[in-house]
Symmetry: C2
Subunit: 316 residues, 2 copies
């Protein structure tokens, strides 16, 4: 409905007169002059199309309609007070629902370790976790369906803040009995990518593996939908792959058919970072979340150097 110039101040005038039964004293209580208050009352009466006060001799009375109007005006003012009341829970900005995305090659390995510390650091936080491909998660982030996303750079997106969480080396996962499995450590150049099993198109881990081994022009033919499927394929000898350290399991698992080997090349690692919209202001909550995650990297990963919360890496 059109508010027809009705102002909250006018309603304050109204209830003030009702309370004091006197225009002059009501004006004083509102800190305005009597004529100003009278004008406000007149305005409201004109808007309502009825007389709220009966100006009796030396006293102000409420009309029947006026009593109802005053009651309703009080409700409006009470609602306005609640509107203006400071938002509580300022003590912990990281409370309530927080929608966090994570790429599928991170989520299952990060959260089992990070959830407990998160819960103890921010007991009132209610995490809603969504897994998916980077492109999907970033799209959801942009439209506001997610508050932040755990992903792995590089990320060619503007308008996002990206804060490093941790760095984890890749390990070679290779079927037991393959020649390379005999070595303590392996060089990337020794890998024949035509024997590799990779994740499907769209997983950044696939791209990272491919770029690390770009030297060999050969292309792999086997793909898997998830890291766990991929490990199962390695176990049955379909090929080898590069796994992030957090995804490495005990060699006894998978029937002891997989061997994990360190890679000699320093480039053989990935960065894991938290991304959110640069337009998110204030972003103390996301930064608090990032801080907790950075302090609790999954096993095998190294925490990223501590981060200056005042630094805005919008340019990334």
């Amino acid at each position: 409905m059109a508010m027809r110039g009705l102002s909250l101040r006018d309603l304050e005038y109204l209830v003030a007169v009702a309370e004091h039964g006197h225009f002059g004293r009501a004006a004083a209580s509102c800190g305005v002059s009597q004529p100003s208050l009278s004008a406000g009352i007149r305005k409201v009466e004109d808007i309502l199309g009825l007389r709220v006060f009966e100006r009796a001799s030396r006293r102000v009375l409420l009309t029947r309609d006026g009593a109802l109007a005053i009651e309703r005006a009080r409700h409006v003012l009470a609602a306005a007070d609640r509107f203006l009341a400071p938002v509580a829970e300022a003590d912990d900005p990281l409370s309530g629902v927080f929608r966090l995305g994570a790429i599928t090659t991170v989520g299952p390995y990060l959260f089992p370790h990070a959830l407990a510390p998160l819960r103890s650091a921010h007991p009132r936080l209610e995490l809603q976790i969504e897994e998916g491909l980077t492109s999907h998660l970033v799209a959801r982030l942009r439209v506001g369906a997610l508050d932040a996303v755990v992903l792995s750079p590089p990320l060619a997106e503007v308008g996002l803040v990206i804060e490093p969480l941790y760095r984890e080396p890749f390990r070679l996962a290779i079927p037991r009995g393959w020649p390379l499995a005999a070595q303590e450590t392996v060089a990337l150049d020794d890998l024949d990518m035509s024997k590799a099993v990779l994740l499907e198109e769209g997983h950044c881990l696939r791209d990272q593996s491919l770029s690390l081994c770009a030297a060999t022009g050969a292309r792999p033919c086997h793909t898997a939908m998830s890291l766990e499927t991929l490990k199962a394929m390695i176990a049955v000898g379909e090929g080898f792959s590069l796994l992030p350290a957090s995804a490495v399991t005990d060699e006894a698992s998978h029937g002891g058919l997989i061997r994990y080997r360190a890679l000699r090349d320093q480039r053989a690692h990935r960065q894991v970072a938290l991304a959110w919209r640069a337009s998110r202001q204030p972003d103390r909550d996301v930064r608090l979340l990032a801080a907790v995650l950075r302090r609790h990297p999954p096993p095998g990963a190294e925490a990223a150097p501590d981060f200056d919360p005042n630094f805005d890496n919008r340019s990334m």
Copy 2:
């Protein structure tokens, strides 16, 4: 609380942006330009001291605090809508509580007859009746404790509207067996006021009786607190009195000890009228009440001539 210049318009802007997710379309829906709306949003955010909207790329998102603010803003606007909603019950202005005063010499004789017609004419009317002396009732009327008073002129009060209801003749009530009781009609001049029983000081009926019989200088010695007490005193032969026709009962009552006689003098009557504050605006309800009462005078009384509802006899 000080409303710090917060306007209902601003809140409309706020929820419009929340609903449209777009400043431009929100502005259009509010019928203002986009910069004007932006300024309003900015103002509210400054007042609240927090960011309500996240201006993301090509879309507007709600911040966490903003979601709460929007919810509260909706409450304020809903309350404001209710405030601006026309007062219902406009069909019958004479509904709800109406505080009606009546002098003690009228109330008990008028209302038994008038209540039923009043109820059928205005079913939703809730009459609160208060009886007392004219002076007391008028004082209550002036301070707003009563909405109207049924009384008997003359009334030397300014600022009151007085509308005639009916006119009722006085009757002589005299103990059976007294000489005057033998006459069909009686002349005022034949009354010896030293033999009269009157109401106590303050009852207008007492004054009216005295002024009608002022010719005789003698003063009565017996007084009664109510007309019914007075009749009982007449029945036991304490004296005679003038009674308004509506207070006359069947001669068989009071053990048949009272005789009622008409008075020859044309002045021997009283006017009954309804009075209310001239400042009462609108006064359709009181005038409606007066109309019903005028159409249903108590037995023995004659309705006052019909009244022009547009006539304001403020000067009375």
